[in-house]
Homo-oligomer: 585 residues x 2
């Protein structure tokens, strides 16, 4: 085992990849048939329809969700903890696996790096995982951009041709309002220069001139759809219903109206099969979908969980952002769509984040960490536990059993860790320290044991709200019960939209997808701990017709991150003799 203090993640991955398993070995290890494993270079896909069909009568395994307290801007290691827990359960001899989101090329090439975990809780093959896997993001990008090609070309041809000319091609005028084109283009990099563009400059045959935008591919509605679709039929239907624009009379124009939905689905045909990756300790991890945590569920797919729960006795999955966003969507949206109730939620905390909530100075990416975070400070830790307890209480409201995991840092002191454990246990929770980053599965045994113990407890699962509750009431409950707000303030525009959605039966089965900062329980990222005496402002409401999401906006979101001045791509290279990639992080 390499020491992650000395070695970079890509070096640890390279070492582990010297003993990769062949598809045949995976077939035997997981009890799959040849037809269920689709080799794709170094990373096979799993044929989910075939596996589900064979295992349909097998009882589901235990279902463990991993979430986190409100993080610092550096993140507190949910993916690393998920992988560490899988390794720890593996060390205990369990049949364990999980499903994680796939990373986006934007962060991977920029300053955040890939999302393969870290240290000895790392996913391999790391290069394939980090650079597009078996092509799902590319497939989404192609399907999405083909829709935009269809949209803009249609606007051009409608501008240039008479109704008679259109009729010859069996086309009816859609009369798209150029000021109400909702959809933009996608590219899976942090391309801030494409956030706002003017397109269609030139002559009559150079497209329709309009303002447009690029978002990062993983924010595409198609990615949101992939994460919640139950099968290819569901995916196909949702694609048809994607709203791309409004016509001049205010009606929706969909991908189906553009007659491009079938071709989009053709590009997406392979995306329904999860890809099989594994930890450096050879524990299986499905990788499937990677949607945003604001306008989408921020979790790997329902398909991935369905397959994983059939294949594994313990199936681990992760929610994006902190528990007020990630867990809340897991609880009230993903579970409602999948019917799969979790046994345990692991709430990841770090001494660093607790100190921040206790009043520590701001943690700023790229700047040295203040010394409050590297020296023992019991008062900051104690005060900061308020945030942890708030999230723990929320998990308990769902009926799912929480297990707090302290993701260990070298600078944590024994006294600080003991204090957190004491506070959690006094509040009726389980708490485990985990050192998976440094020691892999051997470092995660305490966590694994606590999770197995918690899995023995019954779950009295209940939703926070019924789906037939009107939209504004749902938002009010989420704001009060989950975020701790005193209520919700709607702008007149947002309220008018909400009323229209409430009145239109088309939206009866649409899910509520809250958009809010993950850096605070409130909408204001500077408010740490458990903010009091505040109201949640809703400024706008977005709708995704294919994903069937209604997104109340308690803050702005950037759908296209920016590439920084010292991006990670500067350090990435390939060995021209072996094809091996170095510098991923």
């Amino acid at each position: 085992m390499l020491d992650p203090v000395e070695f970079k993640d890509w070096q640890i991955a390279e070492e582990a990849e010297k003993s990769m398993l062949s598809p045949e070995q995976w077939r035997d290890k997981l009890g799959l048939t040849n037809e269920e494993l689709i080799p794709y270079g170094k990373t096979p896909k799993l044929d989910f329809i075939k596996i589900m069909d064979r295992l349909k009568d097998r009882p589901n395994g235990k279902f463990i969700e991993v979430t986190a307290i409100t993080p610092t801007p550096l993140g507190e290691g949910k993916s690393t903890t998920s992988l560490g827990l899988i390794e720890g359960l593996g060390k205990r001899g369990m049949n364990v696996g999980g499903c994680l989101r796939q990373p986006s090329g934007g962060p991977t090439m920029n300053v955040k790096g890939t999302a393969a975990g870290g240290g000895n809780a790392l996913l391999i093959p790391m290069t394939e995982f980090s650079l597009g896997l078996t092509g799902d993001i590319n497939d989404i990008q192609n399907a999405h951009n083909l829709c935009m090609v269809a949209l803009n070309a249609r606007m051009q041809h409608e501008a240039n041709y008479s109704d008679e000319e259109l009729a010859k091609r069996n086309l009816k005028r859609l009369d798209i309002d150029p000021k109400r084109v909702e959809m933009g283009w996608v590219m899976d990099f942090a391309a801030q220069g494409l956030r706002n563009i003017i397109m269609g400059l030139g002559g009559k045959r150079d497209g329709f001139m309009m303002s447009s935008k690029f978002a990062i591919t993983v924010s595409s509605e198609l990615m949101a759809i992939l994460a919640v679709a139950t099968d290819l039929k569901d995916l196909r239907e949702r694609i048809s219903n994607m709203i791309v624009a409004y016509d001049k009379y205010g009606n929706y124009v969909t991908a189906g109206d553009l007659e491009v939905d079938g071709a989009m689905a053709a590009f997406m045909r392979n995306t329904i099969n999860p890809t099989l990756c594994y930890t450096v300790e050879h524990q299986p991890v499905l990788v499937h979908a990677g949607p945003f945590a604001n306008i989408a569920i921020g979790q790997s797919s329902i398909i991935g969980d369905r397959v994983g729960l059939k294949m594994f006795d313990y199936h681990v999955t992760e929610s994006g952002f902190a528990a007020d966003i990630g867990f809340e969507k897991f609880w009230n949206v993903k579970t409602r769509l999948s019917g799969l109730e979790a046994n345990v939620s692991v709430l990841v905390a770090t001494i660093r984040a607790l100190k921040m909530h206790g009043g520590g100075p701001a943690v700023v990416p790229g700047r040295p960490i203040p010394e409050e975070y590297t020296k023992q400070n019991m008062a900051l830790v104690e005060k900061g536990c308020e945030n942890l307890l708030h999230h723990m209480k929320n998990i308990k409201k769902s009926g799912i059993n929480p297990v707090v995991c302290i993701n260990s840092f070298a600078t944590d002191t024994k006294e600080e860790i003991a204090l957190v454990k004491k506070i959690v246990e006094e509040a009726g929770g389980r708490c485990a320290l985990s050192e998976h980053w440094k020691y892999g599965g051997d470092g995660a045994l305490e966590l694994a044991d606590a999770v197995m113990d918690a899995c023995k407890e019954p779950v009295d699962f209940k939703y926070l709200y019924p789906l037939d509750m009107p939209l504004r009431q749902r938002v009010d409950i989420i704001a009060r019960e989950v975020y701790g707000a005193d209520g919700v303030d709607w702008t007149p525009d947002a309220e008018a939209k909400a009323k229209a959605f409430e009145a239109d039966p088309k939206f009866n089965d649409f899910q509520t997808m809250m958009v809010k900062s993950h850096l605070s329980l409130s909408h204001d990222p500077t408010l740490k701990g458990v903010p009091k005496n505040w109201r949640l402002p809703i400024r706008d409401v977005l709708v995704y017709g294919g994903a069937k999401f209604i997104c109340p906006m308690a803050g702005g979101i950037s759908m296209m991150p920016g590439t920084g001045s010292d991006p990670g791509f500067r350090r990435i290279d390939v060995d021209v003799n072996t094809g091996k990639v170095s510098g991923l992080f």
Copy 2:
């Protein structure tokens, strides 16, 4: 065998794909080892380094290039003939294979359709072939666009930061001239609305504002490089040297200067391995690279030919456009870079195209074909053979043996075919009728026999010009000897550029890549037959620093086609129960 008069190509493919070969079957059929065949879903890749290493001492097979007379705008079936020839040689019991270009999503989703051949000379798996294969085009697109992200972000940061701030990040100011950014973005669809854009609108952090453009991905310099690179090392070096812009002092700025070349190569690492497809009669066809025929070689890769010539006794490849462009580049560029001299060039002609050259009315895509083309007309055919004989004479200048192939149409008469054969044979050439579209390999036996016969003849290969000949003199020879021009007229700007290239030793080993209409031997697409008394105008000279191409421009080129008013994507769909795609053509 399905009758292509009654069944669409995708239906013929679907029928043939009921008996697809497994990777293991291909391994045994082609005598490969397990390690040399990399399964990728339905279409395995071949590990070219491993195969070349094992077969390095095996003599090369016979090398057959397929080109065409000046076509109508509908195309005269080079890919179909290439596949038919492979099937015909297979029916004669030969160990035969080939290498073809991969198609682009632009034409596939638009009006031209995929490039899988047609009828019973068709490539499978057709869906995978048509929709991105094993991801090469996606890899190129990602690598290319990452370079543009790096470029625009660098311009933003240089505008926002002082030299001192840049130095903290170990960056030296590149001072890119925003008016001299050479590179644009790429997308593999016919997205005319992205031909001309303004990007970087917004604030200081929303990129650098500039005019920009999107080209279709297959026109990327990276695709041009993939087609001529000999291995990953060569590919890596060429990427570094790609010219993305000029600085404010007129110096080149390269991908290497942006420090993004390593990450680009990482995205391209898998593209060096050709993908194994096959005809509906189970004859192997490598698919590798798909560069433009104007600013690039318009042919599948050198890597593909190197592997194919080792694996097969007869290896067939195709050149894009007509012989004045495609064959000329095969002859003077691809062969010079690869050292692989062809034995035979098959010159594809149709009675339709011959009639057009003989003075028939214009052939316009999407309009009914005039009756001159569907009824016997000996005079038009006879006159039109001038164009055919001109191309045949050019092939003979290289020392390669020509074989004329009449690609059969149902409306051709016996008398018309006999006339063409008589004219070709009187000029000392071989001529074969081929009916592969309708009958597969059984319809291509006459062609296969003629090719095998021609392969027995010696080849006295010679280039048209030596590489140390100055640029303008090279262009003059190509214009006079290949096109039949009386000379070349340079605009003052173009001539100044040419002089600068001639004077700079950096360009000594750059290849000449002519850009000219393929619809005429001249630069004027309306001039059919063999135009007389004309001079070739060169308006500009482009340079590709990584591909090492100098492109004299005898005409405009569109790097981004447009999506028409009745595009093919309207008819494409997927079966949600089986995942099978219908409607590709």
